[in-house]
């Protein structure tokens, strides 16, 4: 037997999806900017090719990162992806080795049992049949988990699972029916011919004991083929598009392409690579602290994919970057959200069927030109020449203790410095950036840049991680930008700053913009180890919570912020520290309101530990002795 009409739905679906994948890849490639195209070409024919293949194996098939997040969820994804891959691979080999001829069309491998019902009676054939049954059982075990997860997500270690749209559900049901229908079809055929291994053979012989197996098999082969065909046809317009997209994404990312600040083909690739696994929902503090469950990154990307108005979702986010850190696909979620914020008004497009299969690139509105500058009232200033500039930042002016601590550290270090915003400076521009107003932010950036250039400083020290991030990313400065923790560490390393050690227990809270946002994890902790006993917690480094005060979120009120702060404090003070240290004025202010533990900035702790400059000298100095009051 060479052909049967029931294979037609499968063939139609398969060739459709193969052609579609090629066409879509070409569209994506053409959408890349010219440097990105070169990067991808170099990456594809270069060293990163092996790296990409390895990552595809580890992430797209084994799902290593999901395993790390939750072993049961990882098993579910692995059994479906890796199990199915092996089933296809070994099925193709089986058809090639045991079939009538070599190099068969794909349907001969998928429906091998139908065309070779006598296969698998003895010898190597039986071993192979056992292997195929084992793989099918492996997939079915994962499928069982997936079905249970839909009603009871805790079974795979997830608190929440993603809500799906109707078309996603249809595609999901067709995917779910693929494997049971294969099981039943193979079982009936095995039952009728007395073949099959432990799974299909046993089930088949039991079913054929009371059912007409020969007649029953054929409808299930049809069902098997139909569900495969339907799944392939629906794949491009559902979340299952992540399967082909992720392959392309891995190659693009390993070639060095990054999201940047403009929407484009790479952003679109990332948007389609989201499998809605829901890990971003579980780690989001807005979810577990305030119960807001409709704004997480999975929903943002889903909204963009389906041309929904996502402006509310885009702005209701702390921009803490915890989802970025945990995304198993490695999608740059926070930069994508920034692009969405910048896009301003949403552009709802007509949803014809063709548009759903071949969507336009995400539209970013061009910046408004020709409008008057918003900050024309800022007059150029003439700062005095100096070596080190200290930029406290707006938030630090609300926490004067940090400012004063920094001044005493700078005085003790003896460097020539200027406190540039002593009487209140101009905002760094990041709050406007976070609000999507890039043009206005640029005005502030230009103003501050000019001020810094004129001062002739070689180092810019800031106390605020929010300022630090934008100084690093969006300013084009010829000075070394340091957060004050880095500056203090340099002073300690060079032996300029002499510090006492105190036996206080301290837990360090990594601010979002300094840690996940700018990658500064070690310097603050090294400074703390110099002066106090630093405790380790589960909320260290990348796992640090957001304090809740984030300027990134425009929508939540102060009650919700307080709830987030209370939960963050609970995570941070499990070891009952004497001081909860942080390195951000905003974190300090928010956390202090939520706890009885003393919250202090690293600068304050260091300033308290400074060894007073040589008190003995005062008494030997004749001039000083003259001034001592006579008791």
């Amino acid at each position: 037997m060479q052909f049967d009409p029931f294979v037609i739905p499968f063939n139609v679906g398969l060739y459709f999806i193969l052609i579609y994948a090629v066409v879509r890849s070409v569209i994506w490639f053409r959408g890349l900017s010219r440097p990105d195209k070169l990067r991808l070409q170099r990456g594809f024919f270069g060293r990163s090719f092996g790296q990409s293949i390895r990552e595809i194996f580890m992430e797209s098939l084994i799902h290593r990162r999901i395993f790390k997040a939750s072993p049961r969820l990882g098993y579910m994804h692995m059994s479906l992806a890796f199990g199915w891959f092996l089933l296809i691979l070994f099925g193709t080999l089986e058809a090639d080795i045991f079939g009538e001829k070599h190099l068969n069309p794909p349907y001969k491998a998928i429906f091998f049992k139908f065309f070779n019902p006598d296969h698998g009676r003895s010898g190597l054939e039986a071993v192979w049949a056992f292997l195929m049954d084992f793989l099918l059982a492996f997939i079915l075990s994962g499928l069982l988990l997936a079905v249970i997860k839909r009603v009871w997500s805790r079974v795979v270690g997830m608190k929440k699972t993603t809500k799906l749209k109707a078309l996603d559900k249809v595609a999901m049901l067709s995917l779910w029916s693929v494997f049971p229908s294969r099981l039943l079809a193979e079982s009936f055929t095995s039952g009728a011919y007395g073949t099959g291994s432990f799974l299909t053979g046993s089930l088949g012989s039991w079913l054929s004991s009371f059912l007409p197996a020969h007649e029953m098999a054929y409808p299930f082969w049809w069902l098997y083929s139909l569900s495969l065909g339907a799944f392939f046809i629906l794949l491009p317009v559902t979340r299952y598009m992540h399967i082909p997209s992720e392959l392309f994404l891995i190659f693009a990312r390993n070639s060095g392409i990054r999201t940047g600040d403009r929407a484009g083909a790479f952003t679109e690739m990332q948007i389609y690579s989201c499998s809605s696994c829901g890990i971003c929902i579980d780690v989001c503090q807005l979810n577990f602290s305030t119960g807001i469950t409709n704004i997480q990154s999975a929903y943002l990307l889903k909204g963009i994919r389906n041309d929904k108005d996502v402006s509310d979702i885009a702005f209701n986010c702390l921009m803490c970057g915890r989802c970025d850190q945990n995304c198993p696909v490695g999608i740059e979620l926070t930069p994508i959200r920034m692009i969405q914020r910048r896009a301003g008004e949403p552009q709802l497009k007509a949803k014809s069927l063709l548009k759903r299969y071949f969507p336009d690139n995400p539209v970013v509105q061009p910046l408004k030109n020709g409008t008057e500058p918003a900050f024309a009232f800022l007059k150029p200033q003439e700062p005095e020449k100096t070596d080190v500039l200290y930029f406290a930042g707006c938030m630090t002016h609300l926490t004067p203790s940090i400012k004063n601590a920094m001044i005493s550290i700078l005085e003790a270090s003896g460097v020539k410095y200027t406190f540039i915003d002593k009487d209140g400076g101009v905002c760094c521009g990041r709050p406007l950036m976070l609000a999507g107003q890039t043009k206005e932010a640029r005005e502030l950036i230009n103003f501050n840049s000019e001020l810094i250039w004129k001062s002739g400083a070689h180092t810019l020290v800031t106390s605020c991680p929010i300022c630090y991030k934008i100084f690093k990313e969006s300013y084009y400065l010829d000075v070394e930008v340091l957060h004050h923790t880095q500056f203090i560490k340099d002073l300690i390393d060079e032996g300029i700053l002499k510090l006492n050690f105190s036996r206080k227990k301290v837990t360090y809270h990594t601010p979002c913009d300094l840690g996940r946002g700018s990658g500064v994890y070690d310097e603050p902790k090294e400074v703390l180890r110099h002066v106090v006993r630093l405790q380790k917690t589960d909320a260290d480094d990348e796992n640090a919570p957001c304090c809740g005060g984030s300027l990134g979120n425009m929508k939540i009120n102060h009650h919700q912020r307080h709830k987030i702060a209370v939960d963050a404090v609970r995570m941070l003070t499990v070891k009952d520290p004497d001081i909860l240290a942080t390195s951000c004025p905003l974190c300090k202010k928010t956390l202090a309101a939520a706890t009885g533990t003393r919250v202090a900035d690293i600068a304050e702790i260091v300033a308290e530990a400074i060894v007073p400059a040589d008190p003995v000298k005062r008494f030997t100095d004749p001039l000083h002795r003259m001034k001592q009051p006579v008791i």
């Binding site: 938030m395 009487d423 209140g424 400076g425 709050p431 009650h559």
Partner: protein
């Protein structure tokens, strides 16, 4: 004799019927904390922009509630959204969102709005 012999300067007239309160309603609808503002002026006292020019969020809040929007539009674009006012507000008004919403609402009313 309905004014009992007193007069009010023209500049001090507030015509609640003629003034446009749609912006205030729009803000209250999307940011309910706008209602609890007591116009204490803490926001104005701490304002980063207020250091350089005459931006007063307190004044803006009052003008929005009165519906005198021309002056609001003129001043609102000066805000740098730094968020200090939100932190110092004793009533917990989400002032940053109030300003963003006001800008959104004014966009349709004035050509040169931010």
């Amino acid at each position: 004799m309905d004014k009992f012999g007193f007069t009010i300067l023209k500049a001090r007239h507030i015509n609640y019927d003629a003034n446009d309160k749609s912006v205030a309603e729009y803000i209250c609808e999307h940011e309910p904390t706008f209602r609890v503002c007591i116009e204490c002026g803490c926001c104005t006292a701490t304002c980063t922009t207020g250091n350089f020019t005459s931006l007063s969020l307190r004044e803006i809040n009052i003008l929005i509630k009165r519906g005198e929007l021309a002056r609001v539009n003129e001043n609102l674009k000066k805000c740098m959204l730094c968020g200090k006012c939100t932190l110092v507000c004793p009533r917990g008004v989400n002032t940053r969102n109030v300003i963003t919403l006001a800008r959104e609402a004014l966009k349709n009313k004035f050509k040169d709005a931010v």
